[in-house]
């Protein structure tokens, strides 16, 4: 029987993979993912002003240029994704510089002030950005502090103590302290999590439900089912469809990961050969990596990863079982499409709840929904990562899903046995309820 099962799985999988559309779609996905991973380089390839170096010409009438340059560089390092700055001391008169000013030039004229120690004038061709303005302003304030402290007559150690940061020790008493419930990155990460985990899962489930239903319906409506079921038990056929659907998801996931890695490899090779590209996208990527590193997200996910993977697998099986059972009781693809609508609505509802989870922080309703089978798969991991539920709760949600899936299989197989050879919708529900009571071979 194992030989027949493998034949069914092979046939089913071949039907999904050995098609020109699978190849075409995968080529398109690969191109898209690789392009996204290297989007900054693609943008650079088409040309444009990406260097974005701002020339700051300092006319120093006080003797603070070195300090200004030091503070400016320090401050700009604290901010991700700032442009390049070339800070130069100018001996020219402001009037002369103003005449020759170019697009990316900023003239900073620093002078002594009788009532405010220092004063400055910023001259630029266009309006300068808020970032540039703040950097200059902060750096000027820094040198002003130094300037005032120097004049105050305090000792060096007193000045050092005065200017050093206040030490803050952080202590969290919550039992869920490992989660980053109040993390400053929470909103940003919830968007990231949804994109990375939920969207592919959502796409996979919808694909799985549609593909499995269409295949069973095809065999049923062509009456090929009679030949198949006269050779293998319905149970074997049922299992083979689920295994094939899951195998397809695994293969497609591996391919997606492969495309992602290939994209990163190409990025790595290009950066080694051509040097790094300074661009907005590079800035976002490095910013994202920094946020994930700082947030503790990796630690949180790695702790729960085995449970999340189990929950994903069980949920895929449950969705596949339900899709197979629904397909078995319909007599044509139109009926199946109608019947799958409630199932699709459940998937959409769980997707929306997962998205809303970070907005409605602490909502009891959303927490309860994380334990409801079919919805839990998208919601529970998100709530756990956001610190809304504990690892134990995530485990309970997985166990609930496991028990539900087993029940679904137990009763589903009985309906499937009757459904796949039923070609009439007359007394359908009566037939299905009757099938739940009997034991078949």
């Amino acid at each position: 029987m194992n030989k027949k099962m493998s034949c069914l799985v092979k046939h089913s999988l071949k039907k999904k993979i050995k098609t020109k559309w699978f190849v075409v779609v995968n080529i398109l996905i690969a191109i898209l993912i690789i392009s996204l991973a290297n989007i900054d380089r693609i943008i650079s390839l088409f040309g444009g002003d990406f260097e974005n170096t701002t020339n700051i010409l300092v006319v120093d009438n006080v003797g603070v240029f070195d300090n200004f340059k030091k503070y400016f560089e320090q401050n700009s390092k604290l901010i991700e994704d700032v442009g390049n700055y070339d800070i130069k001391l100018s001996k020219e008169k402001v009037k002369k510089l103003e005449t020759d000013i170019e697009k990316d030039d900023i003239i900073l004229n620093i002078e002594a002030s009788t009532d405010n120690y220092l004063q400055a004038q910023i001259i630029s061709f266009d309006s300068i950005s808020l970032m540039d303005s703040q950097l200059i302003s902060t750096s000027l304030n820094n040198i002003k502090d130094d300037y005032v402290l120097e004049k105050s007559g305090l000792t060096e150690s007193q000045i050092a103590s005065l200017t050093s940061s206040v030490k803050i020790e952080k202590k969290v008493t919550s039992p869920d302290k490992d989660t980053y419930k109040d993390s400053e990155y929470k909103d940003l990460l919830s968007t990231g999590i949804i994109t990375l985990f939920i969207v592919p899962f959502f796409i996979f489930i919808t694909t799985l439900v549609q593909m499995l239903g269409a295949e069973i319906n095809d065999e049923k409506t062509s009456r090929g089912m009679e030949i198949i079921i006269s050779s293998v038990p319905p149970k074997t056929h049922f299992k083979s469809k689920i295994i094939a659907a899951l195998s397809f998801v695994v293969i497609q996931s591996i391919l997606l990961i492969g495309y992602g890695l290939l994209g990163l490899l190409i990025r790595f090779l290009l950066s080694n050969s051509a040097g790094s590209v300074n661009s907005v996208v590079s800035g976002y990527i490095s910013q994202g990596i920094t946020i994930v590193k700082n947030s503790g997200l990796i630690e949180v996910i790695s702790k729960a990863l085995p449970i999340i993977i189990i929950l994903f697998i069980i949920s895929f099986i449950a969705y596949a079982i339900l899709a197979a059972v629904l397909a078995s009781i319909t007599t044509n693809i139109e009926d199946y499409q109608q019947l799958q609508t409630p199932l699709m609505m459940i998937i959409v509802a769980s997707y929306l709840l997962a998205i809303m989870a970070s907005t409605f922080e602490g909502a009891l309703f959303i927490k309860i929904m994380a334990f409801i089978p079919f919805i839990s798969v998208l919601l529970a991991p998100v709530l756990y990562i956001l610190g809304e539920i504990s690892l134990v709760s995530l485990g309970i949600s997985t166990i609930v899903m496991l028990v539900f899936t087993w029940a679904l299989y137990y009763f589903g197989i009985k309906i499937y046995k009757v459904g796949i050879l039923n070609y009439s919708s007359n007394n359908l529900w009566q037939k299905l309820f009757k099938s739940l009571k009997k034991e078949g071979r």
Binding site: K4, E226, Q430, G440
Partner: protein, 298 residues
């Protein structure tokens, strides 16, 4: 041997098969006759275990039919059961493997059967691109490729032209010689009459006529006398034992109640002129059916 004993099947309150029994020995061709909805396909589905029976037993070589011995059965369903997007070779490989065959065995046998049905050029063609008749041939190949002991053919000649019917009939006769048990259904009596030894005629799931065709015909008292010559049909009608007279072409067919009336008819005919034919023939199955059931068959 296939033994079907007292099987009954209800669909809700509808009695689909009513206490049906028959046996098929190796090397026998068994006909299951009945109009649409008579219970032929249900009987096949019961034999294959596709549906559960309410009563009765079905055994193949004294064993209950289960998925352990199901590969001994080959099945050709009434409707096209082919996956039209597959090529011929993919289709036969799929169904053949489900019957426990290896790829190598299937390809070897497929070549033989494609040759026999004169459709070798379609090996790599998609099923959907084949004509209805050729699709039926492929379906027939799928049913017999694994060399089953029992072959169930549900309306095997549907959609076939006379030449192809002849071709499949020849194969069925060869399979019979090989000792296969063959059961086939048809709503065409002449197909069954042509090469079945035994039959069951179903009406509303109930057997109205069953047994060996020769014996059924022999036991049936009424005979037909075919006469070609200058005879007066009114005088023939007046003879005792003559039930009715019909004209087929130039021939008169005289139906008599039993063999004992042949001599009376002959006594009249020998007095007539230009008699070219006088032959006594058994009643056709169709006539027997009408007589037994009180209605026309189709």
């Amino acid at each position: 041997m296939l033994k079907v004993e007292n099987i009954t099947k209800y669909y809700g309150n509808l009695l689909a098969v009513d206490n049906l029994s028959f046996q098929i020995k190796p090397g026998e061709i068994f006909g299951l006759l009945g109009v649409n909805g008579a219970g032929k396909t249900t009987t096949f589905r019961l034999i294959l275990g596709l549906i559960d029976k309410n009563n009765g037993t079905i055994t193949l070589n004294n064993e209950k039919i289960t998925y352990d011995n199901i590969d001994k059965i080959g099945f050709l369903p009434e409707e096209r059961s082919l996956l039209t997007k597959l090529t011929v070779i993919e289709q036969v490989l799929y169904y053949g493997q489900l019957k426990g065959m290896t790829e190598k065995e299937i390809i070897e046998k497929l070549d033989y059967w494609l040759e026999r049905f004169k459709i070798t050029e379609y090996k790599n063609k998609k099923i959907k691109d084949l004509s209805k008749g050729n699709q039926q041939k492929i379906q027939f190949i799928c049913a017999i490729i694994h060399n089953p002991e029992l072959i169930i053919l549900d309306e095997p000649f549907s959609g076939l032209d006379p030449l192809n019917v002849e071709m499949i009939m020849d194969v069925i006769k060869d399979l019979k010689k090989e000792g296969k048990m063959i059961i086939f259904s048809s709503h065409r009596m002449e197909h069954v009459e042509l090469f079945c030894e035994k039959l069951v005629i179903l009406v509303n799931g109930r057997s109205v006529l069953s047994g060996e065709i020769n014996k059924i015909k022999k036991d049936y008292q009424k005979k037909n006398i075919h006469i070609l010559g200058d005879v007066d049909s009114k005088k023939l009608e007046a003879i005792k034992g003559v039930e009715n007279i019909t004209k087929i072409g130039k021939e008169l067919v005289v139906k008599i109640e039993n063999e004992s009336f042949i001599k009376d008819v002959f006594a009249y005919v020998k007095k007539c002129d230009n008699i070219l034919k006088f032959s006594v023939e058994d009643a056709s199955l169709n006539e027997i059916f009408i007589d037994k059931v009180g209605a026309t068959y189709e």
